[in-house]
């Protein structure tokens, strides 16, 4: 009985100690280990700056909502999300301006002048396919191909009302089908048609499910597909659809009233440093700072002729119409 109470007291003390141990850590919302190789980046951050950042699988929309919900007493220190969410976060007043060390090297259109958000890398949207899991079917080459009944139950795309990559999918498909940011009817029409093909619509990154074959076809970025093929040695193909696609940047912000502000700043400095940006390049992302991509990495990308099909859109406008589109998607696409 004595021994038991002693053990319990020790455990309680450990608990108290762990409360104090938060000193060398920073909380990042949306730093999933399987996305854009954040796993390696987080390890490098810990090794180089000593700041431990736990992984987090929230998507962009969930991160923003959590920041808004916690506005009175923030839990996170930094946040990573798509550019339109960065703009919305700035409007909601949950992030504050911070200019990291390599600020001047970020191109003008890819950062908020006051530092509320800034791009760290970008990618191009397309179709990521686990060729083995197709069971002999041809690899789809266009958005229209995904509607074919032979791919029933095999197609996945992230939730456009919640994840940034989902919203980007909607914008890209919309643009490819002839619509623009003022007219989302082609996208809604497409998703309604796709709904008949029994799609899987996860809310969070489904990278591992593509690798395991549970989800053979996923609308996702080039960097995830290349990593699957060349780092994880899966028989994955990446296709930039014939009708066209878009490239988008992902941004980071410092959370307003962050509990571990100094650690958060160190994290932001690192992802923009030479070492951090090189890690992004090795993970097949296009770093925001102008730097030469290693030759062997560049060789593994699809040819430039394919990338010519990917354009860019006005991010401010994209952010402004996002909420209306999300509501429309939830209402009309069942």
């Amino acid at each position: 009985m004595r021994a038991l109470s002693k053990t319990l007291a020790a455990l309680a003390l450990c608990g108290m100690a762990s409360l104090a141990q938060a000193a060398d850590s920073a909380i990042c919302y949306n730093c999933p280990p399987d996305w854009a190789d954040w796993g390696t980046q987080l390890k490098a951050i810990a090794a180089s700056t000593g700041v431990q950042v736990p992984l987090d699988n929230k998507n962009s929309g969930q991160s923003l909502a959590q920041l808004v919900a916690e506005k009175a007493a923030p839990v996170a220190d930094v946040v990573y999300y798509g550019v339109t969410f960065g703009l919305q976060a700035q409007k909601a007043g949950v992030v504050e301006g911070y200019k990291p060390k390599a600020w001047d090297q970020i191109p003008a259109g890819l950062k908020d002048p006051a530092g509320h958000w800034f791009a760290i890398h970008s990618g191009t949207l397309g179709i990521m396919v686990n060729v083995d899991a197709l069971g002999g079917l041809p690899v789809p080459q266009s958005w229209a191909d995904l509607l074919k009944p032979q791919y029933k139950g095999m197609v996945g795309y992230l939730d456009p009302s919640s994840a940034f990559v989902g919203y980007v999918s909607a914008v890209a498909i919309n643009r490819a089908m002839g619509g623009d940011l003022d007219n989302f009817a082609p996208a809604i029409d497409y998703f309604q048609k796709l709904a008949k093909n029994a799609p899987i619509v996860p809310k969070q990154t489904a990278y591992a499910r593509v690798l395991s074959g549970e989800l053979p076809i996923l609308v996702d970025y080039d960097f995830n597909a290349y990593r699957a093929r060349y780092k994880d040695n899966a028989n994955v193909a990446f296709v930039i659809p014939q009708e066209g696609s878009i490239s988008v940047p992902y941004v980071m912000s410092l959370v307003a009233n962050a509990p571990h502000r100094a650690n958060g700043e160190k994290v932001l400095d690192f992802v923009l440093s030479d070492e951090g940006q090189a890690l992004w390049a090795k993970a097949y992302l296009r770093p925001v700072r102008p730097m030469k991509m290693p030759a062997e990495v560049a060789a593994q990308f699809l040819p430039d002729s394919d990338y010519a099909r990917a354009g860019v859109v006005d991010y401010e406008k994209m952010a402004a119409v996002q909420e209306a589109f999300a509501a429309r998607y939830l209402n009309e696409v069942k």
Binding site: G61, Q62, A65, Q66, V68, A69, G153, D159, S161, S162, I200, V201, P202, K203, S212, G213, E214, L215
Partner: protein, 272 residues
């Protein structure tokens, strides 16, 4: 013993304090929060009760919970009575295996359903071999139903086995000696005898299914049962008023069904 009882009531103070501070107060806050409105859409309760989407989701959750409860009672009842009455080699091992899933969190159950009925699941390969097409139902309501059954059946089996111990077998023997067939005995003697236990166990299964979140979350892409709707509204839009209103309405519906069941059980009285 009067002094003892008065002294004893002091012992209730810590538990009461905890419940008051961390449950009653927050619940009151939640109820009040539901009356707030955001963007002039009307109060949270109004938005919930006037929206076809939320009412539909509530209805879907309710129907699912009821069907799961009834099916679990049926399956668990048959197995439970069988295991309580018959003694054979390996019986206690079988009982242990059947009741382990009771402690599994909903997420694990969702994962097991994916293993069973997902794209690479057992039934998918079975279907491929037997019928040439994969049988995948993990991500639909059928998958959710199977998941809820998974953690409800063990509960029923345990309760029925315990209740069987206190059944009066002389009544069954009397019925047999009066010429009643096996099924008559089951319907007219055994089931009424087990009724209070089945009702209270069914109530717990119902409450668990109504509030279950983990399973739907894991399976969840097209499922919109109310706990998932609450989570979505809170995490996608930080819409506290609607999230609070939905939670309160869900809780109220669950609690009233539980109350009703208890009233019915009390009124029917114990049969034996």
């Amino acid at each position: 013993m009067a002094t003892s009882a008065k002294h004893a009531s002091w012992a209730l103070a810590p538990a009461f304090a905890v419940l008051l501070a961390f449950w009653l107060l927050p619940l009151a806050h939640l109820i009040v929060l539901g009356t707030e409105s955001r963007d002039s859409h009307g109060s949270g309760y109004w938005q919930v009760l006037s929206s076809a989407q939320y009412l539909g989701s509530l209805g879907q959750t309710l129907v699912l919970a009821v069907v799961v409860t009834l099916v679990a009672l049926l399956i668990g009842g048959i197995s439970g009575v069988f295991l309580a009455r018959q003694h054979f080699f390996g019986r206690s091992a079988l009982v242990a295996l059947l009741t382990f899933p009771l402690a599994f969190p909903g997420v694990v159950v969702g994962f097991l359903v994916i293993l069973l009925a997902g794209r690479q699941g057992l039934l998918a390969s079975l279907g491929l071999q037997l019928a040439g097409e994969r049988w995948i139902f993990a991500y639909s309501l059928a998958g959710l139903f199977v998941g809820y059954l998974y953690f409800s059946i063990p509960r029923v089996i345990l309760t029925v086995m315990a209740a069987c111990e206190s059944l009066d077998r002389s009544l069954e023997e009397a019925a047999h000696s009066l010429g009643a067939g096996h099924w008559r005995v089951v319907c007219d003697v055994i089931v009424p005898g087990l009724a209070p236990a089945l009702a209270s166990c069914g109530a717990i299964c119902f409450a668990t299914s109504m509030g279950a979140f983990g399973t739907a979350f894991t399976l969840g892409t097209r499922l919109n049962v109310t706990p998932v709707a609450i989570y979505n509204v809170f995490t996608n839009y930080a819409n506290f008023a609607v999230a609070a209103a939905l939670s309160v309405v869900l809780g109220a519906v669950t609690w009233s069904v539980l109350l009703l069941t208890r009233r019915l059980v009390k009124n029917s009285g114990t049969v034996l």
